[in-house]
């Protein structure tokens, strides 16, 4: 089941407060020392209880994410060695998305706190339990 992102509705100030209620967001990109957050989850592999949070410079090549960072995080899973990146399908915020491995996060238009999911057809986790 895919989840459509929420409508970007106009949000008025809703907090009831005694004074003006205006504070900077705690996780604005400038607080990450030149890096940005990127979340990556592997569908049908709930052995990893939640998507992972990466903190990477925007000029990180997407191939480096796939060949260096993700193997470190997901490599424990027995399905990992069967992952073929040429067949992987991706979702960004729940919508189909096509990365170019040679490009950087910035060139691919990936923004701070973007959410990616990847799907590996044919791989269904431990004993097919989506674990």
């Amino acid at each position: 089941m895919t989840v459509a992102p929420t409508d970007k509705k106009e949000t008025n100030m809703a907090v009831q407060a005694l004074k003006e209620y205006k504070f900077p967001p705690a996780d604005a990109q400038e607080k990450f020392h030149g890096a940005q957050l990127l979340y990556v989850g592997w569908d049908d592999h709930l052995m990893f209880c939640a998507p992972f949070a990466y903190c990477l410079p925007p000029n990180t090549p997407f191939s480096e994410l796939c060949q260096k960072f993700m193997p470190h995080s997901f490599g424990y899973h027995p399905d990992w060695k069967s992952v073929d990146f040429s067949k992987v399908t991706w979702l960004k915020s729940g919508q189909p998305w096509q990365p170019d491995m040679s490009k950087t996060l910035a060139e691919l238009g990936l923004k701070h706190k973007d959410m990616l999911r990847f799907q590996t057809p044919g791989l269904k986790g431990i004993d097919g339990s989506c674990s």
Binding site: P25, A26, D43, D44, A53, K113
Partner: protein, 517 residues
């Protein structure tokens, strides 16, 4: 001869009236609105504070007398427990981890509740609720103290009990209960009363208290059981206060209904998310189980809570919409939460482990629809790998929900093999939540949750290392630095129960107590 006429003793009702009414006055140097600045900004309209009825009619003098008696008994039992090495009477050293969770995750909140009720008492212009809040405030600080005293005995012998206060402000999973109370405390006094007085103390308290205290009784922990008995009579009063408060608001003005409903929706969901920790405690951390989380949910929420909402229906209160998915979630959340702590067990101040065969069979029997289908293969795989020396510890930080601050571990309603992803945008920034419930809470007050102190993001910002740490040096180990900043004793407080110092010590000491060699 003068007759010695005995003064007539006041009846309970008169005494209550004298000691809880007419204690205040209309100020003349300052307008009342300035003396009680928080009374109106939330939009709740109160026309007659004297309509407040406290069914307990407890007065302060009686309060001190009862509480002193109870505490004398409690401390006598705690002394006996300590002197007789009561800690060796528990079922199994794994049980201690449930106590660690309670001490680090719950006891500090009793202290925050003390502060919150003191503030609510200060801010309500009506004297009836002020007196009731005062008593609850004193209850809560007593509970914090008695819990700390009851549990401190374990700190002499076992790991992970040594610095709960420091940990609450820092540790990733303790940010879940901490943010719950911070959220409530930073609202106005009326929302506080719905959040803590009603949702937490009335709707959810049995799901928190009964599992821990029955768990203690089933597992031979007399210190915690005695504390539980001592607190129980206070809890009954807290529940009554919460219910009285919501009825009072609803009876005072029809305009209060939508505000109260919004708060109930929000706080029921926030409370349920915090209770995921209790669910895993019941199903996984108690060597001798009381009942399953699912059974507890059915008794204490579906039956008792159902009756409560039926009662509140006459005021126009509806069961929060987000609760409809709970009848499905009750089959999953305890397994999902335990799987999370198991894989992040390198960064928890208690031990984790995989259930043995007999325990897995118990789980299958209690969760016939879900355990074998979704969880057994995963847990068996992990256990087998651990036996081969390849115990699973996740090495990358998880994505967290912006509202409940739990990692994004919960699955989509109707699809337990797919994680639930929700995304909102506020002032050009993305925010992710774990459920419709948390997303609605975010969307209603985005400016509040945009400030959330999310442990994972704070680590990545470099705010969670000991002072003077240079993360740019060669070979920097961020996890070790974070654990140091948490005040974890790396290698003793964390990791698997199997091979832990707690396991070895308990076995050795119990052996000395029960054998001659």
């Amino acid at each position: 001869m003068d007759m010695n006429v005995k003064k007539k003793k006041l009846g309970l009702k008169e005494k209550y009236a004298h000691m809880t009414r007419g204690l205040d006055w209309e100020t003349s140097y300052q307008p009342m609105d300035k003396v009680f600045p928080q009374a109106k900004f939330e939009g709740i309209k109160i026309h007659d504070w004297d309509k407040w009825e406290d069914p307990f009619r407890l007065t302060m003098d009686a309060y001190w007398k009862y509480q002193a008696e109870k505490e004398r008994k409690l401390y006598a039992v705690l002394d006996a427990f300590a002197q007789n090495n009561g800690h060796l009477g528990i079922t199994d050293a794994r049980y201690l981890n449930a106590v660690k969770l309670f001490l680090t995750g719950i006891s500090p909140l009793e202290y925050v509740a003390h502060r919150g009720f003191a503030a609510a008492g200060r801010n309500f212009p009506g004297v009836g609720p002020r007196v009731a809040c005062l008593m609850q405030s004193v209850d809560e600080i007593r509970h914090a103290q008695t819990q700390i005293h009851a549990i401190s005995n374990y700190n002499k012998h076992y790991d992970g009990f040594h610095d709960f206060k420091h940990m609450l402000e820092r540790v990733w999973y303790l940010s879940v209960p901490k943010s719950f109370f911070d959220d409530a405390f930073s609202a106005g006094p009326f929302e506080w009363m719905i959040a803590i007085g009603f949702s937490f103390e009335y709707v959810l308290t049995n799901l928190l208290f009964v599992p821990f205290m029955s768990g203690a009784a089933y597992n031979g922990d007399m210190a915690t059981v005695t504390f539980g008995f001592s607190a129980q009579s206070d809890e009954a009063r807290h529940m009554t206060l919460g219910l009285e408060c919501i009825k009072f608001m609803l009876e005072q003005d029809p305009d209060n209904l939508p505000i109260v409903q919004k708060w109930i929706d929000k706080w029921a969901w926030r409370g349920i998310r915090v209770l995921s920790l209790v669910g895993m405690m019941m199903d996984y951390m108690l060597p001798k189980r009381v009942m399953s989380w699912k059974e507890a949910w059915e008794i204490y929420f579906e039956q008792n809570g159902g009756a409560l909402f039926a009662d509140l229906a006459r005021y126009g209160i509806k069961v929060p919409e987000c609760l409809t998915q709970c009848s499905e979630d009750k089959e999953h959340i305890s397994h999902q939460a335990w799987a999370t702590f198991y894989q992040y067990g390198g960064a928890a101040a208690f031990h984790t482990w995989m259930p043995n065969d007999e325990e897995m069979d118990w789980l299958s029997a209690k969760y016939p629809n879900t355990f074998d289908k979704y969880y057994r293969a995963r847990f068996t795989y992990w256990r087998d790998e651990a036996e081969k020396g390849n115990r699973f510890y996740s090495n990358t930080l998880p994505m967290l929900c912006q509202v409940c601050q739990i990692p994004m571990i919960f699955t989509e309603p109707g699809d337990p093999t797919t994680l639930c992803y929700r995304e909102s945008e506020y002032e050009g920034e993305k925010y992710h939540t774990c459920s419709d419930g948390c997303q609605h809470i975010f969307d209603n007050e985005p400016e509040k949750y945009a400030q959330a102190w999310l442990p994972v993001h704070q680590i990545y910002q470099g705010n969670c290392f000991p002072e003077g740490t240079d993360p740019t040096v060669e070979g920097f180990d961020p996890l070790a630095a974070v654990l140091d900043w948490y005040h974890f004793n790396n290698g003793h407080d964390n990791l698997d129960f199997e091979g832990s110092r707690d396991q070895a010590n308990f076995a050795a000491w119990r052996g000395m107590a029960t054998k001659n060699t």
